[in-house]
Amino acid sequence: MSEGWTREQMAARTAQDIPDGSYVNLGIGIPELVAKFVPQGREFIYHTENGMLGMGPPPADDERDLDLINAGKKYVTALPGAAYFHHADSFSMIRGGHIDVCVLGTMQVAENGDLANWSTGAADAIPAVGGAMDLVQGVKNIYVITQHTTKTGEPKLVEKCSYPLTGPGVVSRIYTNLAVVDVTPAGFQVIELAPGVTFEQVRSRTGASILPPQ
């Protein structure tokens, strides 16, 4: 974790690729940090699956509203211009292609854009999918933020996912601690290296062929 970008830097780098005025859905974990790094002069409107547009930052502990939470079941706030709606309307926004960007964490991403982030497929695992499969099929741009490898050093960018898929061919861009990587018809393509990281380092920790920055 000590090399390349920190979690915050990964989130900040992601935020730079999101255009002004975008409707954005942020997954749980590092993706949530994106909201802290909105580039100056831009405004994003955050959607949460459980029925709100215009989600704001977490409240102070003494200002919590027990009925105002996000999809991760954390307390949040509502910004001016927010709107509440029911789940069918919320997923109409997702499935109907109205959300511009979704940033998700992942377990694996394959070179063809396959995403696996909901289940290890282990025999004793309790399956739990939430809204992930709706998001990856419906949102216009699926970005992934992830450490480049697992804690034990296994590649998360792979030729083919070994875990059950969340969706096939859905990821367009990956932000890791080492690099920004596009999913292209030719496979993984490094767009940018983190400061002090070499392409060779990235290649050696990637479980598929990967093209150097152009």
Binding site: G54, P80, G81, A82, F85, A88, M93, G138
Partner: protein, 236 residues
């Protein structure tokens, strides 16, 4: 900062091309975005496919758009009414095409388009000539017909209150098809009676969240089709 305001109805409709598919909100006169329709008449795009429950009344609004020869096809549930003369005349002359869709199926097809549902099953029209050529299927021993989503390039909508983010409220039964059409069009253009700062509409009372809206024009004293017709007006 997000600001979907547009300076005029003319600007708002300026990029609607010939041949566009245009949803027009309203049920009869109620909720009809007369100023936007008249701007579309001034703009002059032709060969339009228009989706509305009806075909307009008198010689203003939608009826005037049709009468001006800009519409090549209407998709609606009820093209007749006591004061609808323009459409029937053109239809009988073979100058305009008509796709008749039951009102509930029309609403649901529009919603489906906005919701990313390419098709659904409904009992409506089963056993009638309006199901001819459509796919039938049994569920739980009852027969249903498959209906596809209905999308549009543009939607012209009238709202009561809007904010610059595109959050909308409507007035009474003027709501009708408008929230659905906002969802189903690539570009949704709204004329609003009142434009308020973001935050002035209670988030609990928003009917159409801003994500479904692209452009907003304030038309603070909108004319009403019923009033124009009662006054014998025509457009242009």
């Amino acid at each position: 900062m997000i600001d979907k305001r547009c300076p005029s109805v003319a600007d708002a409709v300026a990029d609607i091309p010939d041949g566009a598919v245009v949803m027009v909100g309203g049920f009869g006169a109620s909720g009809s975005p007369i100023e936007l329709i008249h701007a579309l008449i001034d703009h002059g795009a032709t060969g339009l496919t228009v989706i509305n429950n009806n075909t307009g009344n008198g010689e203003v609004g939608l009826a005037a758009l049709i009468g001006n020869g800009q519409v090549s096809k209407m998709i609606c549930s009820f093209p007749r009414s006591s004061q609808s003369r323009v459409f029937p005349k053109l239809y009988r002359e073979g100058k305009i095409e008509l796709e008749i869709v039951p009102q509930g199926t029309l609403a649901e097809r529009i919603r489906a388009a906005g919701a990313g549902i390419p098709a659904f099953y409904t009992p409506t029209t089963v056993g009638t000539i309006l199901a001819d050529g459509k796919e039938l299927r049994q569920f739980d021993d009852r027969t249903y017909v498959m209906e596809p989503w209905l999308k549009a390039d543009f939607a012209l909508i009238k709202s009561e209150i809007a904010d610059p983010l595109g959050n909308l409220t409507f007035n009474k039964t003027a709501r009708n098809f408008s929230p659905l059409m906002c969802m189903a069009a690539t570009t949704t253009i709204v004329q609003t009676k009142q434009l308020v700062p973001a935050g002035d509409i209670d988030p609990e009372h928003v009917i159409t969240p801003g994500i479904f809206v692209d452009r907003i024009v304030e038309v603070s004293r909108p004319v009403h089709e019923d009033t124009l017709i009662a006054a014998g007006r025509s457009y242009p």
